[in-house]
Amino acid sequence: MIKSREQDIIDSFSSLTDRVVGNMDVLELTAELAQDCARLLDVAAAGLLLADAGGVLHLLAATSEEARNLELFMLQRDEGPCLDCYHTGEAVNVADLSTQTARWPRFTAAAADQGFASVHAIPMLLRGDTLGALGLFGTTPGALGETDLALAQGLAHVASIAIVQSTTRADRDEVLPALQAAITSRAVVETAKGVLAHIHGITMQEAFTALRDTARKYNRQLADIAREVIANAPPTSRQLGKSSPASPGPKNVP
């Protein structure tokens, strides 16, 4: 039986909030959240961008792990709807990207190259601060309805709460270490994807899946598994400072 959309939405929120209150891994939760966004909002691609201390946007999670797909998010450090959304703290809705070539010349060209026609950027908010933005890409022109925008904002709120949940207070001073830690974790995961892609001749998507499955299997953080993969990269492992910890995990996944 096919699940109703309403049931699907309830299931997604339920699964996400279970993870937030349980022992969750921010990277895994936000990766799942990106998939939920794409499916529930019927967009082709979704990704979360988080700002560092200097206000530079970093990719935290996306529906695709391939570098060419991530590039569209990276590009928005310089220009694009997610950057504008981050700066204003308000949603940026572009039903037809071809009308915005003067506003974001490089971004619109890159988006068109990849077959995207519409984009919506939703702020990740916490109290008075904007932490980053959720970007939603569609392959056909069209605006999201009010209900869908509200749903997108709800999902973005879950992401914000997940990232800062380890902190007791919720001002910028308190959450900044958590934001930086999430950004560093994502970097090490990207690097480990490269290690696995080379060793096993697999795609970046397959490499991410292998890391995630291993983290789940051993009930460990994705970033910890990633660090061990890098430390054990053949032919000679090169970890500065210390050897990798002797803890349950693979001697190189998959």
């Binding site: 570098a67 001073d173 970097a187 090490v188 892609a197 660090r227 500065l240």
Partner: protein, 260 residues
């Protein structure tokens, strides 16, 4: 002293934007941290392969004996920042934080240091060292000072990489970088390519990053363009044998620059 965010950001970025050796740039960054973040001392160190630290620069109340208290005991705020890959904060060394690192805390007290903050300095997510800040009064790091500390931790990757490039210039080429632009260091495709080079050549991610930069410079491409060539399997960087032997043991790798 509390500076506004714009002043802090511009000052820290300018500190790493000048020309000069890696050590000179590291010194400028440490001095800027003291000036702009209300600190009495700052230091930058690199972790080396034999589980010791290598001091790249220090200023103010950060003395050789304070650093030695971390090296010799094998623990302290810098070790913790590197091992956990996260921000370490000890806002009250004579109070709540006094028992964390006894040797370091004793040396800190002797130098009038009441609070210490350490940021891991990472390349492609892998910690290479730490930037640490010392203050003579206790208290949390807040506002522009905290944001500035994180920014300084990111910027510190540039002199660390330059130091390795200087000491291993035969192996990696020595392209001059636009030091104030840290953007190329923190892109998804660059991390992925660094991972691939790391696995292929069996080198540390920091050297993989330098090889990527060196190839981009030699071929007049951006680092991002070279990263995509590697990810898409159009390019493999050669283990060309020019001085790579030295990389098979990283112990004490950047020792040529004057040391402590």
């Amino acid at each position: 002293m509390a500076e506004g965010w714009d002043v802090v950001r511009d000052g820290l970025t300018a500190a790493v934007g000048g020309s000069g050796t890696a050590r000179a740039v590291a010194k400028q960054l440490c001095l800027a941290c003291v000036d702009l973040l209300g600190m009495q001392g700052a230091g930058l160190w690199l972790v080396t392969g034999d589980s010791t630290g290598h001091s790249l620069s220090r200023c103010g109340v950060v003395t050789a004996s304070l650093e030695w208290s971390q090296f010799s005991a094998g623990k302290g705020p810098c070790w913790e920042a590197v091992e956990t890959a996260s921000f370490v904060t000890a806002p009250d060394l004579t109070g709540a934080d006094s028992a964390r690192w006894p040797a370091f805390t004793a040396a800190a007290a002797a130098g009038g240091v009441r609070a210490v903050f350490a940021m891991p300095v990472t390349v492609a997510g892998v910690p290479m060292g730490a930037l640490y800040l010392c203050r003579s009064r206790p208290g949390r790091l807040t506002g522009p000072a905290q944001s500035g500390a994180f920014l300084a931790g990111e910027l510190a990757a540039l002199p660390l990489l330059d130091l390795i490039a200087e000491t291993r210039s035969v192996a990696v080429g020595s392209p001059p970088s636009t030091r104030s632009d840290i953007g190329w260091l923190t892109r998804s495709e660059v991390y992925q390519a660094v991972g691939m080079i790391t696995a292929q050549l069996g080198v540390h991610p920091a050297e993989a990053m330098l090889r990527l930069r060196g190839h981009a410079f030699a071929h007049d491409l951006t680092v991002s363009q070279v990263a995509f060539q590697i990810i898409e399997r159009q390019l493999q960087l050669d283990d060309d044998g020019t001085g790579t032997d030295g990389w098979h043991d990283l112990d004490g790798w950047p020792e040529s620059g004057g040391g402590l």
